[in-house]
């Protein structure tokens, strides 16, 4: 059972390679796995440096999303006025397609790296915000009563009850945000890349597309998808390690 996904993947690759070879479809239309690996090996450092650049944007954005999401969630949880003021705007940011606002952001922010991070943060911060806000409200009412009985103030309740109760929710949100940060980084790179900013895997994909280097394009895609899988599993492992350490997960 454990190896089922791997075996299925290998089988699919074999069928793919066989289909490409038997049908004789040219590699600039559909390259086979072998051609893709060859394209990667032809210029590994170029693709890996771009991957590093994309990951740098992704992690910077994830960090920003975590800080921003938790800060806003604490604001929402501690004041009805703030909640009423913030929530609609968070939704507006969440539902506005990033492709549509990315050119504006790139224009306004100026610094290419910073504008990529801003775009990816906008895409990524909502799950952290929504989950953490739900987590802050998740402590059982009896415990809130208990804190009241002992005269605990809002800061003490936040620090000793509501924030710790929100941790599992935050970690679940962070895992979703990790994937979204990568998506946001790539989308922003596409927009910036078509404006001539050469960095990141999205730019490599654009460039390979212009030059009809389809195997190289696929190699970049594979790297992106591997990065997404690694981020997802990494954040999942981080979450279970933290919950194990706390002893309630």
């Amino acid at each position: 059972m454990k190896y089922a996904p791997v075996l299925f993947g290998l089988l699919a690759l074999l069928v793919w390679e066989a289909a490409v070879r038997i049908s004789g479809v040219p590699s600039y239309l559909v390259p086979g796995p072998v051609a893709i690996i060859a394209a990667f090996l032809a210029d590994p450092s170029g693709l890996l440096i771009s991957l590093a650049s994309t990951l740098l944007v992704t992690f910077a954005a994830l960090l920003m999303a975590a800080v921003l999401g938790v800060t806003l969630a604490v604001g929402i949880a501690s004041s009805r006025l703030l909640a009423a003021a913030i929530q609609p705007w968070a939704v507006v940011l969440q539902v506005t397609p990033i492709v549509a606002i990315a050119p504006l952001i790139i224009l306004w922010v100026g610094n290419p790296f910073a504008s990529l991070v801003v775009c990816a943060t906008i895409v990524a911060f909502f799950p952290v915000l929504a989950n953490t806000a739900a987590g802050l409200a998740s402590a059982p009412p009896e415990l809130a009563d208990l804190f009241r009985l002992y005269g605990a103030g809002r800061i003490a309740s936040l620090r000793l009850l509501r924030l710790p109760a929100a941790v599992p929710f935050f970690l679940a949100g962070l895992r979703i945000s990790g994937g979204l940060a990568l998506v946001g980084a790539v989308v922003a790179e596409f927009v910036a890349g078509s404006g001539g900013f050469a960095s990141g895997l999205a730019y490599r994909i654009l460039e390979a597309g212009y030059r009809l280097q389809i195997p190289r394009m696929f190699a970049a895609l594979v790297l992106l998808s591997l990065a997404g899988i690694a981020i997802n599993f990494g954040l999942g492992a981080l979450a279970s390690a933290i919950m194990r350490h706390r002893g309630d997960g």
Binding site: L146, Y150, G151, P164
Partner: protein
């Protein structure tokens, strides 16, 4: 309704669901404010935080904190430093029979042990008044009997006042010095019965206990019939 509770008493509030037992307990704790009516304390005895311990039906422990840290919580909320409070925390855990479980997380403990932690948390501030809201209702019968007996000996040792909400006639009869019968819709106090029992584990087998249970059952049926 009108109810006086003297220092050192063990009062059971007994009645079916919806008769306002828990509400009354929350009013005493100051967790709710009365819509009308008054709650007064003897002069100079108005409670400060820590004077009242509260035990809920569920243990309501912090799931991420060890038993010791859960018991430490009330002291921590009063600003006590951890190392200074730990001897008191350990002593309280010892009192409720949880030696050696200081580092256990709530999920590693049984339902009865979690309730013991919860009681220790309520006792750690040395409260003058202990309020308990059906604390043993979710436990199995054997665990419940053990905890009832241990609660009685804690009450005798600590000389605090206990107000104990329950819907079990047996529990009220076994534990309380005074049983307050409450009836629902509208919630009111129907009757009060003083217990003739000598409190202790032997009481469960005493003929007087059976008589008391019968008397309380009879009163309850009468009050619910009207």
């Amino acid at each position: 309704m009108s109810l006086d509770i003297g220092a050192g008493d063990f009062v059971a509030l007994l009645g079916p669901s919806g008769c306002g037992k828990s509400t009354l307990l929350r009013l005493i704790a100051g967790l709710d404010k009365p819509d009308s009516g008054r709650l007064t304390w003897d002069p100079g005895h108005a409670p400060k935080p820590g004077d009242i311990g509260f035990v809920f039906q569920d243990a309501t422990l912090l799931p991420w904190a060890s038993a010791a840290d859960n018991v430490f919580l009330p002291l921590r909320l009063r600003g006590a430093p951890r190392d200074r409070a730990m001897p008191e925390v350990q002593a309280t855990l010892h009192r409720v029979g949880l030696d050696g479980f200081a580092d256990a997380r709530p999920r590693q403990l049984s339902g009865g042990m979690r309730m013991r932690v919860s009681i220790a948390r309520a006792l750690v501030t040395r409260p003058r008044l202990l309020l308990m809201d059906e604390p043993f209702a979710a436990l199995d019968e054997f665990t419940r009997h053990r905890l009832q007996e241990d609660l009685l000996s804690l009450w005798r040792d600590l000389r605090c006042t206990v107000v104990f909400v329950t819907h079990s006639i047996y529990e009220a009869s076994f534990l309380a010095r005074r049983i307050v019968l409450m009836t629902p819709r509208p919630g009111r106090i129907d009757h009060q019965i003083a217990s003739p029992l000598k409190p202790g584990p032997e009481a469960r087998l005493a003929p007087a206990y059976a008589t008391l249970v019968a008397q309380v059952t009879c009163e309850m049926q009468r009050s619910l019939a009207v």
